[in-house]
């Protein structure tokens, strides 16, 4: 049970931070210490970067990366300006043609500029959320059924245990081939590459949710189950009134784990399969091999990490919002 080892390690960490709090005072602990930690990290990074030579020049330090953040943002603004200008030109042209010829039906062509870094970030976010939500809609009902039925649990457990450790890189070729074979619409609603990364994400983040939901459901207090029996709640009502609320804390633990996995998997999938998104950005820069490439990749690394962190915080807030058991919500 991965979930128990995961949650099991938490109280110890929590106790430790409480102990720190007594020594330093909470203001120092929440502001000064993390700030100092970041400063030390930046210094070490700076020093280390100066001493690493690559075929593309020196490893980028914090300053070089900061420069690239600015450059990436400038590129994005310029691209947006171009896009706006492109549509503006079309509008003017169409307006003119309509004046000349009132029967003319104006057409708007889409702008097809290169995706900027910020566009890639949004593509990645949309992909990861789609894959994750698809996984959740499969995994949570499956986990509930597995937790309720011992027979089903015995049947599903081996499959879950075998698929859980599979790397996304192994799934990707299979997903790509299947999507190509099955998804053959001439006017596709979404791109194949989007489906490839989405399904790969789904396959990898199903399992933590299935396992945690099942453990949560199987661990419901016997007394609460007895209450349900005495009331003769019908099966669906039993799930709705007792099982779901009782296992919400565990379901959310699984969802947080899964979302973390999903984000990691997505970057790898995009890189390997040339699917649009942050992973492809990293890969393109690597192939590009200009003197700025490493700094741009490093900027992407920081953004990837920061988004991963924000996703986790968002799940935590959501968990706090829906959970009746405040104590079960840990950082």
């Amino acid at each position: 049970m991965t979930s128990t080892t995961l949650t099991g390690s938490k109280p110890a960490a929590w106790k430790l931070s409480q102990f720190d709090g007594k020594l330093f005072g909470s203001a120092i602990k929440t502001v000064v210490v993390p700030f100092a930690g970041i400063l030390v990290f930046l210094m070490l990074w700076s020093v280390a970067a100066q001493n690493i030579d690559t075929s593309l020049g020196k490893f980028p330090g914090p300053a070089a990366v900061w420069e690239q953040f600015d450059a990436l943002y400038q590129e994005h603004s310029r691209s947006r300006e171009k896009e706006a200008a492109f549509y503006e030109r079309q509008r003017e042209r169409n307006a003119k043609r309509v004046v000349d010829d009132p029967s003319y039906q104006p057409k708007i062509r889409d702008y097809t500029g290169k995706e900027t870094f910020i566009d890639q970030v949004f593509t990645s976010l949309v992909t990861v959320m789609s894959g994750f939500l698809l996984a959740a809609t499969i995994a949570i009902p499956l986990g509930i059924a597995t937790g309720l039925s011992r027979t089903l649990n015995s049947a599903i457990n081996p499959v879950v245990q075998v698929f859980k450790p599979v790397s996304p890189l192994a799934w990707l070729p299979l997903v790509t081939m299947v999507v190509s074979a099955v998804y053959t619409s001439t006017d596709p609603l979404v791109a194949k590459s989007f489906l490839n990364s989405m399904f790969t994400v789904t396959l990898c983040c199903l399992w933590p949710m299935v396992i945690n939901t099942a453990v949560g459901v199987a661990g419901i207090d016997d007394d609460l189950v007895n209450v349900s029996k005495v009331l003769r709640l019908p099966p669906l009502k039993h799930v709705q009134k007792i099982v779901l609320p009782a296992s919400v804390p565990m379901i959310f633990t699984g969802m947080r784990l899964s979302l973390g996995v999903a984000w990691m998997v997505l970057i790898a999938a995009e890189m390997l399969a040339q699917n649009p998104g942050l992973g492809k950005f990293v890969w393109d820069e690597f192939q590009n091999g200009s003197s700025d490439s490493l700094a741009r990749i490093m900027a992407a690394v920081l953004v990837i990490g920061f988004i991963g962190f924000l996703l986790d915080r968002a799940m935590l807030q959501l968990q706090k919002l829906v959970s009746w058991d405040r104590d079960s919500v840990t950082h």
């Binding site: 029996k229 005495v230 009134k241 609320p245 009746w324």
Partner: protein
């Protein structure tokens, strides 16, 4: 009066890894309508098992339970249970906990307004009217137990089953709860089976005390009818010779050897609250 609940010669065997374990042998008990019966015995003798068979949560290996002429085959709200550790749904308020039961039992009979009135009435009956909308985590242990009782009463059960309902409460709270329960009983005259290991509680509340021998293969050792006039008052009863005789009878039964094990002696505390040290009894087993 005629028999409402017939616990007819039940045996209970549990399958265990070391073979089958006989918890109960030939437990036979008939209860009349409106009777308040206490089950008393040492920890682990099989009191909860009897209650769970009556509730329908366990199926007896031999014999059976007949309620109102019908055999009990599954749990149901006409045999409402008050569990030892309240068993309220922690994500629902006191009101919503009772509501879940009321909707399930009366959803097709009562209107919404009637149901709301009935829920509030039952919460007021257990003196929880002022804290109806608090969640279990926000109220004391005694209050939780009150809500548990309100939930069970709200089902209008034919038999009310209570498994050490006040076992986890401090002495003062427990005394309050016992008084409340007597008030409610005077008003509703329910048929009740209550498990306890508190001798005073048993004598104070019951019309009849059923004493169980120690397990394995526990059975009913002795029953004692309590002819004390109601309403009963704990302070007046303290000096009542009959009351003290009843206490002595139960205590004597519990001190003596019954069944396979030799029970440890009971602790008698200063305020005449007799309880048994669960741990020492289990060590002896």
């Amino acid at each position: 009066m005629s028999v409402l609940l017939d616990i007819s010669h039940i045996d209970m065997e549990f399958p265990t890894p070391k073979g089958s374990f006989t918890a109960l042998r030939d437990v036979n008990l008939q209860i009349k309508k409106g009777e308040f019966v206490s089950l008393i015995g040492h920890s682990g003798c099989g009191k909860s098992t009897v209650l769970n068979v009556v509730a329908g949560l366990y199926g007896a290996t031999r014999g059976g339970v007949i309620l109102n002429g019908k055999e009990v085959t599954e749990p149901g709200p006409e045999r409402a249970v008050v569990f030892q550790n309240h068993s309220l749904l922690p994500w629902l308020s006191a009101y919503e906990n009772v509501e879940l039961a009321v909707k399930q039992v009366f959803g097709k009979i009562k209107t919404r307004a009637e149901m709301r009135e009935w829920i509030e009435h039952n919460l007021q009956l257990v003196h929880m009217g002022h804290a109806m909308h608090r969640r279990p985590a926000e109220i004391s242990g005694g209050m939780k137990q009150r809500v548990g009782i309100a939930r069970a009463l709200a089902m209008q059960p034919k038999v009310l089953l209570m498994d050490e309902p006040f076992g986890a409460l401090d002495a003062l709270t427990r005394a309050h709860m016992q008084d409340s329960l007597m008030e409610i009983q005077a008003e509703l005259n329910n048929t009740v089976i209550m498990i306890t290991h508190d001798v005073d509680e048993a004598v104070l509340l019951s019309d009849r005390i059923v004493m169980m021998t120690n397990g394995p293969a526990a059975t009913i050792g002795e029953t004692l009818d309590i002819y004390l006039e109601r309403p009963r008052n704990r302070l007046e009863l303290a000096d009542d010779p009959h009351y003290n005789q009843y206490r002595a009878r139960v205590l004597k039964f519990l001190h003596e050897r019954h069944g396979g094990h030799k029970p440890k002696t009971a602790k008698v505390s200063m305020e005449k609250n007799i309880e048994f040290d669960n741990k020492s009894v289990e060590h002896a087993a």
